[in-house]
């Protein structure tokens, strides 16, 4: 493997990891602060992508469409929280899983009724080609944009959590909810705000990945599983953990699809390597999770010390 290839694959891993982070950040806060398992988090991602595709169609501009979709998805998330999910906080995890699983099915069919089973969404034409980063290293311009947006949001989120009053409340809630409440934190408003931020981040991920993947009903389910893997690896409730976990999962998934088959071809007979390569690649991420759980059951950066 040459250096350029390694660099290009690292960018791919980074791009995938950053998008996962946008999902995992919201999920880990909801899980960490409210102790609530929200399976419908992937549905927010889907709703965000559909809203973006719809607004892009209406306005004719990619940027305007995405910028409109983000607050719209945040409002959708907050309405969902105040009307439905709020009543689930006191319940046990099993009830939450059941209720939010039902929500996935309801939102899927709801989206199908409103927009149909898919919507077209393309990257802006100016970004459809490659950019030469180094001599011989071409990289798709749109993926660079995704990396840029991902890094900017990660930084923004970091500042929000470490430098603002709201961030302090969030951290307090994540490390000890009862104590934060006893200290007079308005937990209800905080929860709604956190949920809105989570939904907005989902919408960014959905809108940015939409042109690369596809805006379709059910798009949130597959990526939700990876987002859960991320927060289990990173430690529940920790933004830093979510970032590290996302990047790890992004790199391991990319490496699993590229480096592992190379290794297998080196050491194994070809008919076995071609069968085992894709099989191991698809479980590489879960192997990583198993190893982390074995070594550090509480995750890499648990919010609760």
């Amino acid at each position: 493997m040459s250096g350029l290839l390694l660099l290009e694959q690292s960018l791919n891993g980074l791009q995938f990891g950053l998008m996962l982070f946008l999902l995992a950040a919201g999920l880990t806060l909801v899980f960490g602060i409210m102790d609530m398992i929200n399976l419908a988090h992937g549905s927010l991602y889907m709703v965000g992508a559909f809203l973006a595709a719809w607004f892009v169609q209406l306005t004719g501009s990619f940027v305007a469409g995405v910028l409109l979709a983000i607050p719209a998805a945040a409002v959708f998330g907050m309405v969902l929280e105040t009307t439905l999910l709020r009543s689930l906080y006191a319940r046990d995890h099993l009830s939450q899983v059941l209720a939010t699983f039902a929500l996935i099915l309801i939102i899927n069919e709801g989206v199908r009724m409103v927009w149909g089973s898919d919507l077209p969404l393309s990257a802006p034409a100016a970004l459809s080609g490659p950019v030469e980063l180094l001599p011989g290293l071409y990289y798709p311009a749109y993926r660079l944009l995704i990396i840029g947006v991902g890094l900017a949001l990660a930084l923004l989120l970091y500042l929000l959590v470490t430098q603002t009053r709201m961030g302090a409340l969030v951290r307090a809630g994540a490390s000890n909810r009862e104590m934060a409440m006893a200290m007079g934190v308005d937990i209800r408003r905080l929860f709604t705000a956190v949920f809105g931020i989570g939904a907005a981040l989902c919408a960014v991920a959905g809108a940015m990945l939409g042109p690369l993947l596809a805006v379709q009903v059910g798009m949130g389910e597959g990526i939700l599983i990876l987002a859960f893997v991320v927060i289990v690896i990173g430690g529940i409730g920790s933004i830093r953990g979510a970032l590290v976990g996302s990047l790890l999962v992004g790199f391991v998934d990319t490496a699993g699809r590229t480096v592992l088959p190379h290794l297998f071809r080196e050491f194994l007979p070809p008919q076995f390597a071609s069968a085992a390569g894709p099989a191991v690649a698809s479980i590489a991420v879960y192997l990583l999770m198993a190893v982390v759980l074995f070594v550090r059951p509480q995750g890499l950066f648990p919010a609760r010390g």
Partner: protein, 395 residues
């Protein structure tokens, strides 16, 4: 035997009585269970098959083989378990006479035993995997499309003819994916620069494209139907690889369902198929014109297969004069395939897979400036069957 002969004789003599007797024996309608992928990124494939199938029924005045046709349509959602359930429902509850529709081999292979067990004919408008061509061939299975390997064999032959030295191969990790690359390699004489199997339904190919760039092949051959192919080609162009190497495709990899979303980046792509918009036979001209009139878009190769599936059922029901309970007679009639196929002449092999021609096509612009496939030169293969027929016990 004797009463039957007597009855036929009487029927010939007294037409009116015979007609009523015939009607009493024949079914009063044909029920067809149609299960296909009608949602998700690969929905365009199933939708084209369904639309063309229904077009054929409509052009027949709502009938198949002279009997009123009832087509029960179900969406397998690209999931084998859902496909299997729909087959079970169509066969056990709706008691259909024929099953058809499925796009993907993995879904078809999961569901089709339901049809075999109940002796219901399955007319495949697309999936024609190698196991059912060879050892596990079945009298209730007819592939009206093309054997899974065939497009890829033609593509391999084309790559050899064009003198490509190093070709990189990508396919999803499932039965049809493996069949396809096996088929390509059977006729490609150059070097395989890399052979990668991706997850079925994968939509992001960044890692694979980086590998392709590093391997520096002359050409890339992919078997990525539907949404997978649309995403791959867009990302292939986005990564700037189209400047350095040729993209070779099987027919469905560069057909209308892919051309529409990808656009001008498809110009000049070579692909191989058993059918094209411009095949000069009368049945095809009628099909293309009627399809465009009805649906305001050009048909894809999937549509041509859906249309032929309906025509095949039509011809068989007509041949047995509506007596669709007589399975042996229906089977003989299906095998005779007495209809004008839009692909031109073809016949069924002993394994009930087609023997037919395969053409080289290239994506260009038609008189109205639309992107379309045009056939180039002589067929790559003439009267081409499949490599598995000798393992099939059927005669």
């Amino acid at each position: 035997m004797r009463p039957a002969v007597l009855r036929t004789l009487t029927a010939a003599a007294v037409t009116a009585t015979a007609l009523s007797a015939g009607a009493a024996l024949a079914a009063d309608k044909v029920k067809v269970g149609f299960v296909s992928t009608l949602s998700g990124p690969s929905a365009a494939l199933g939708v084209d098959i369904r639309d063309a199938f229904m077009l054929a029924v409509k052009l027949n005045g709502g009938k198949l083989g002279g009997l009123p046709a009832e087509v029960i349509i179900g969406d397998d959602q690209f999931k084998p378990d859902v496909g299997k359930q729909l087959f079970e429902k169509n066969i056990k509850r709706d008691r259909v006479d024929f099953m058809t529709g499925v796009v993907f081999s993995n879904i078809m292979l999961a569901a089709v035993p339901e049809a075999f067990d109940s002796k219901t004919f399955y007319i495949s408008p697309n999936a024609a995997p190698s196991p059912l061509a060879g050892k596990e061939c079945n009298p209730y299975f007819f592939a009206v499309s093309w054997p899974n390997d065939a497009y890829h064999e033609a593509a391999g032959q084309n790559a050899t003819n064009k003198g490509f030295k190093k070709v990189y191969l990508i396919a999803p990790n499932y039965q049809a994916g493996k069949d396809s690359l096996a088929g390509f390699k059977r006729y490609f004489k150059g070097q395989v620069a890399g052979e990668v199997y991706t997850k079925l339904g994968q939509l992001d190919y960044s890692a694979e494209l980086a590998e392709v760039r590093a391997a520096k092949p002359d050409a890339v051959y992919t078997f990525l139907p539907g949404g997978m192919g649309i995403n791959f080609i867009k990302q292939f162009v986005g990564a700037g690889l189209s400047k350095d190497m040729s993209l070779l495709q099987p027919g469905f990899g560069a057909d209308q369902d892919i051309i529409r979303p990808v656009g001008d980046a498809m110009l000049g792509t070579f692909d191989t198929a058993h059918w094209a918009l411009d095949l000069p036979n009368a049945a095809n001209k009628k099909f293309v014109a009627e399809f465009e009139k009805e649906y305001k878009r050009l048909p894809s190769v999937y549509a041509s297969q859906g249309y032929d599936a309906a025509q095949l059922i039509d011809s068989a029901v007509r041949e047995v004069k509506g007596k669709i309970e007589d399975k042996d007679a229906v089977r003989r009639a299906l095998k005779a395939a007495k209809f004008q196929s839009v692909r031109g002449d073809f016949k069924f092999n002993t394994n009930q897979y087609p023997i037919q021609n395969y053409y080289l096509r290239v994506v260009g612009k038609d008189a109205q400036g639309r992107l379309v496939n045009k056939t180039l030169g002589e067929p790559i293969f003439r009267n081409h069957g499949d490599a598995y027929v000798q393992d099939c016990g059927m005669k």
